[in-house]
Amino acid sequence: MQAVSMNFSTETAANYREPQFGVLISWLKNIDPSTTFFQLDHSHLDGNDKLKGVESSVSFFDRYDYINESQYVDSFRITKKVSSRPWGVITAQADVVLNNASKRFMPGYDPIIGGNIVRDRPIKLSVGFNGEFINLFTGYTERPINTVTNRKTVLQCFDAMSYLSNKKSSLGTMINMRANEIIEELLIEQGFTSSQFNIEESIQQPIGYFMPKDRIVTEMIQELCEAEGALAFVDEQGIIQWWNRLHFIYNQTTQWSFDYDNTAGIEWDTTSIINDVSVNARPLKPAAYNKMFELADASDETMIPPGGSKDIFAEFRDDEGEFVAISVTDPVYVSSNVGTSVYSTNLSIDGSGAAGNAFITLDSTYNFGSKYRMTFSNSGTQPIYITNIQLYGQPAKVTAVSSLPQRDQTSIDEYGLNPDDGGSTIVIENNLVQDVTSANALGYMLVRFFSNPLARLTLNNFAVPQVQIGDSINITIPDTAESYDSQVMGYTIAMDYPAKLTQQLNLEQRTLQTYFQLDHSQLDGADRLAL
């Protein structure tokens, strides 16, 4: 639940409300160095203060100079939803319709912004009561769509996760780093400061080997989420959140309650039944400095032409398959093995000729991870063969990890084996799962949560704008005298004419559990040991 003042909460629940909304767009994408920030109970949207992230931090988006376009807004709609699995990367989407009767948003028309009616403009959407506003969305616009006939400009917008989905990392190998540390490094590389993200601690062991270079940031975060059972998303203020798999368990205090008095419609469904899961991984673990590659025989492929050069590739493999080199000692010429990286040369393919090593130079090397490139040049007048290469370094080798079968036999007897997933065991394969305990925990979590059908409800409720993903919500159904403890797995909030503030919440029932916490729980108490 977003932090709001008591006045805001009271207004939210009132039978008569006067909602206001704000749409701020940084068409020019100028950085405003004199930014001052909006304070609850002190600032108004038409003042000079900016809406910022949580009180203690300034989000990535706060640095821009925004133009208040609220007076031109016909409607907006914001959607954010977790997938059917309780992990992964969530991207929020917003659709904004601007009234363009004045032609303000026609490309090239307005003298100030006309040249900037283009994609990737920072945008913030907010709603408030009595001049007190909260952000609902912070992100970037896609290409604006203009229609002359109905004089509308439509903006489709995505949050910073979309921004990161276009960014590749240049970072090098990461060794024995926890998932949260990896994500922090990735975000800092992309220009975020530590106050612009909130990354919870990883639950599993450090990841032995991780190579971000040339990979898309969002894809890496997605992979880390699956390995941890974690959720990544950008909150309403533009702060990147990464919740570990215990987040929901430690945040079960009911934050808002709904019943027939504040709900216009309720739709029931049930969660998919998952009662048999296994998790497999082949993580790479750093090993001791050792010999990683040997070329024993010369061939035409290792012949360096006179006056020319040639790339020779070493591929790192062992009985478990491909592995990667964390570091490689560049080979030097020797005539015999000395226990480090070396190469040998000869004028004859069978090694029976003169060495010719005076004409051979190792010009450069490059470690691709599972491959290693050596570029040799030959300054002589005869072909010279590389007859032997031995490469030493620190490898990261594959370790096979398989979870114990995570199964709920009672559920299988009652509903069949994974009836919503084709009747076969769900196999999760993710090489960032580092150990059997984590693999077991991941499978256990799914089976524990979903082996029995739980209520999945779609509420068309009296809008509570401060509700966020993960909030604990209680729903009372008077017809059956039942009460559901649930968590927000998605929402749509919209503002339309006339003053139509609507919200739809996607809720999933959760079995409330307490988990053992150091310094809080007693071993003979009711708390469970968390995996």
Binding site: N15, R17, P19, D261, G265, I266, P498, A499
Partner: protein, 114 residues
């Protein structure tokens, strides 16, 4: 003195005037019948009818409507029990000539506050 002016111009007074306010609000009704109202304010609206105008008089009024926004003032408004003044955008409809002898028309217009 004529109470109604358009753009501060004394015009032929309409034969029917209906002044009202569009309420910018939406009510949501819960399953149990509870009601929540979201409201952003109100906008003035006036429906005017002239029976009859000469074509010259009609043209004068229509020219004002066609020129852009129009400032409506009624010093004897029943909506405010006083003066109603606002700037609005007009839509209008003019009838055909009513007789072959005179060139009279009926003009109906609605002005919505901007």
């Amino acid at each position: 003195m004529n109470p109604i002016t358009l753009n501060a111009v004394a015009i032929r007074q309409p034969t029917r005037v209906r002044e009202n306010q569009d309420q910018i609000q939406t009510d949501q009704v819960s399953i149990s019948g509870s009601r929540q109202r979201d409201r952003m304010g109100k906008k003035n609206r006036v429906d005017l009818s002239w029976e009859y105008l000469s074509t010259v008089e009609a043209r004068t009024i229509m020219d004002m409507f066609e020129a852009g926004t129009v400032d409506y003032v009624n010093t004897l408004s029943d909506a405010t029990a006083g003066t109603l003044a606002f700037t609005g955008l007009a839509t209008f409809e003019k009838s055909d000539y009513l007789s072959s002898g005179d060139t009279l028309v009926i003009l109906n217009a609605t002005i919505l506050e901007v």
